[in-house]
């Protein structure tokens, strides 16, 4: 039996169930395949040209607009139609200003109407002051080794000319087959760093030990790492790692990795109620001012990212309407901040239901319960992360309970009021509206 016949059988089953109306879905235009590449970084003063490809275009025409961060369209490009729904065009960094330029591809219908196909983004930045001509000056040093945004150990690199030495040391984290297991691979020849283009090529020797006590885990052999230290940041690197499982299958694995240089992280943070965000149209959200600790360490310019601890979001208002019937979804903290020169978040952390959500729950829960007053709210555990120095992708948790690492956030709606809290700091109770 071929793979095709399996898929066909699946579609046939689905089609047999369709009403004539719903089966029309398959005859409708499905949109546009999209632009590649999606995000491109440019270094100011370094002339680069990017070739873009737009695929899956079903409209008779395509036009491309370049817009700056003010929303002003400063150039329009007519791409080449390569046939088969594929269009191509190029953009030269010389026509771009500093910052992000949006590259918007628009389908052009026969009547001239525009529908958005897809957008790509060009980010022109000033070069790092530590950039040598071409690539970074050295790869030597202690690097945090991470995969999937999690630090697992240290890659220590020494450098002699373009040749690299050192070792990779990893500790298997908790929750895995052999938690706490430590293993080290030596960096062996030929391992090189090419200063002209930032290219990194590392071969690792045999692991020590070769397996964990009791043989619960075995460690990869024939490991190689290839990647680059990018021009814009000399204290981060990324690439792909491959290795061989001594006990196949599978015989080999590969995965992206990141490296970053050690840099300081906060020990905690303090929260203080600042204001109700009525000036921003979010009257029912409490703004909390947050400062990182210790204030003796300068975190200015570093980046923060928040998330919710898995399974920690408990929204009683949402849950009160049975079987996920609410039209307002539970909160999902997911914001980012830069750090100011005095170690504060760049803006308040805003916590609460939107005004429309407050009105919605009051009305619907009155109807549901028939009561004359009620109270409901949400709680969740907020997890803060800070970026590693120079990295826009590697973020690490910091602080302790209610001090960065799992802050308790809450908000409560009553018949007449709203209130919120963050990490032990409380807003006053607001009568709303």
């Amino acid at each position: 039996m071929s793979r095709l016949s399996v898929i066909t059988r699946c579609w046939c089953l689905a089609l047999c169930l369709f009403s004539p109306l719903t089966s029309h879905a398959f005859g409708q235009a499905l949109g546009c395949g999209g632009i590649e590449p999606k995000v491109v970084g440019y270094v100011q003063g370094t002339l680069m040209t990017t070739e873009f490809t737009v695929t899956g275009v079903t409209a008779p025409g395509l036009t491309v607009q370049l817009a700056n961060s003010s929303g002003t369209v400063f150039d329009t490009i007519s791409p080449s139609n390569d046939g088969g729904g594929t269009w191509t065009f190029s953009v030269n960094s010389g026509i771009l200003g500093l910052g992000v330029t949006s590259v918007d591809a628009w389908n052009v219908a026969a009547n001239g109407a525009l529908t958005l196909c897809d957008a790509a983004f060009l980010n022109q930045q000033t070069p790092s002051t530590t950039v040598a001509s071409g690539g970074c000056g050295t790869a030597a040093g202690n690097w945090q080794f991470a995969e999937g945004g999690v630090n697992y150990g240290t890659l220590n690199l020494t450098e002699s000319g373009s040749s690299l030495g050192g070792n990779l040391s990893i500790t298997e984290p908790s929750g895995t087959a052999c938690p706490g297991t430590k293993v080290t691979w030596p960096v062996m020849a030929p391992s090189t760093y090419d200063i002209s283009d930032g290219g990194l090529s590392i071969k690792l020797g045999s692991p020590s030990p070769s397996e964990s006590p009791g043989g619960k885990c075995v460690f990869a052999t024939g490991v190689s790492m290839t990647g680059t230290i990018p021009l814009l940041s000399c204290n981060m690197a990324s690439g792909t790692l491959t290795g061989t499982n001594p006990n196949p299958p599978p015989p080999t694995v590969s995965s992206p990795f990141t490296l970053s240089q050690n840099c300081p992280f906060p020990t905690g943070e303090t929260s203080t109620f600042d204001t109700w965000e009525s000036a921003k149209g979010l009257n029912t959200e409490a703004g909390f001012s947050v400062q990182l600790q210790p204030t003796t360490t300068n975190f200015a310019g570093r980046l923060l990212s928040e998330g919710a601890v898995a399974g920690s979001i408990k929204d009683a208002c949402y849950n009160d309407i049975p079987d996920q019937g609410s039209a307002v979804q539970p909160p999902n903290p997911d914001s980012e901040w830069a750090i100011t020169s005095s170690d504060f978040y760049s803006s308040d952390d805003m916590i609460g239901y939107s005004p429309a959500a407050v009105f919605y729950y009051r009305l619907q829960l009155y109807r549901l319960t028939g009561g004359t007053s009620f109270s409901c709210g949400f709680t969740l555990q907020q997890q803060m992360h800070m970026n590693s120095c120079g990295s826009a992708t590697l973020f690490t948790p910091y602080g302790g309970t209610n001090s960065g690492n799992t802050n308790t956030l809450s908000s409560t709606i009553t018949s007449t009021t709203v209130s919120s809290s963050r990490a032990g700091a409380f807003s006053p109770t607001l009568t709303f509206p």
Binding site: G71, V150, T176, V183, N247, G281, S347
Partner: protein, 277 residues
């Protein structure tokens, strides 16, 4: 499962996303069947959000405007009805039965479009309220209403609120002001009311600048969310696209726009450390 522990990355880690078929070796490739069983009132939204979380796909969802009483359930308490006699003053929510979606994939990370098309096709044949179609804009997938029963119970084509055409000049506004402007224009052109339901306030207050010139509200919304991400990119932050769930509340005959950031799925398991024999 920690990413440093080796495991074949063919199964969902979510407890509710179950691998039901073992690998089928077919012409040297492997096809995998996955299922997801819903429990709530919006089965299509449930599977969209499960796939979004599992794979980091950027998928938006838009409710059909349900009008048929057989597609709705009245949850209003008798005590409330005793004192509120207006028949429109009731709590109406979608009425759906649990449904098991299934799809096949031959890759470790399934093809988003293929999976969504399979799920939409299955929903449309499930008997649950509304029918949908999939619309693509690059890596953004939209699940859009295709049809729903009218008040008389006849299946009729559905028009999404976000199909309204909007125009406004470029100007710096906060993200929430820009979105509110788009929703106000939708109301003005189509008579359909929509407001922001759930959204991260921290993101909503950031300034952006976009223009719209005779484009759909969906396109304008996508441009606004991308402009916010572009501002983040400029500040050195990673690209985390946003998407939405536009949910209809039948008794109010209005929509609530809920906004989410899409986080990338963890990379496939690899590692230097494997289970021993």
């Amino acid at each position: 499962m920690n990413t440093l522990s080796f495991m074949p990355n063919l199964a969902f880690s979510s407890k509710t996303l179950l691998t039901v078929a073992t690998v089928l070796a077919i012409l040297g490739t492997a096809a995998q069947a996955e299922t997801f069983t819903t429990s709530g009132r919006r089965p299509m939204l449930e599977v969209v959000q499960a796939l979004q979380k599992e794979y980091g796909w950027r998928i938006s969802y838009e409710d059909p405007a349900l009008e048929y009483t057989g597609d709705l359930e009245d949850l209003t308490s008798p005590a409330y009805k005793a004192t509120h006699t207006d028949p429109r003053d009731v709590l109406l929510v979608p009425l759906a039965k649990p449904f098991t979606f299934s799809w096949t994939s031959s890759a470790q990370t399934p093809d988003a479009r293929s999976v969504m098309e399979q799920c939409v096709a299955q929903h449309n044949g499930s008997g649950n309220p509304g029918a949908f179609r999939v619309y693509y804009q690059g890596d953004a997938l939209h699940v859009i209403p295709l049809a729903a029963k009218n008040a008389g119970g006849a299946m009729v084509p559905a028009v999404s609120a976000l199909d309204s055409i909007v125009s406004f000049p470029a100007q710096q506004r906060t993200l929430i002001d820009t979105i509110s402007l788009i929703l106000n224009l939708v109301h003005r052109t189509s008579g359909v009311q929509a407001v922001v339901g759930m959204a991260a306030g921290n993101a909503m207050t950031k300034p952006i600048s976009i223009a719209a010139n005779g484009i759909s509200a969906r396109d304008a919304l996508l441009l606004a969310l991308d402009a916010y991400q572009a501002a983040n990119l400029e500040a050195g932050l990673p690209w985390h696209p946003m998407t939405w769930a536009l949910l209809y509340h039948a008794d109010q005959k209005m929509y609530y726009l809920n906004l989410f950031t899409v986080r990338p799925a963890p990379p496939p398991s690899f590692n230097l450390i494997f289970p021993g024999n």
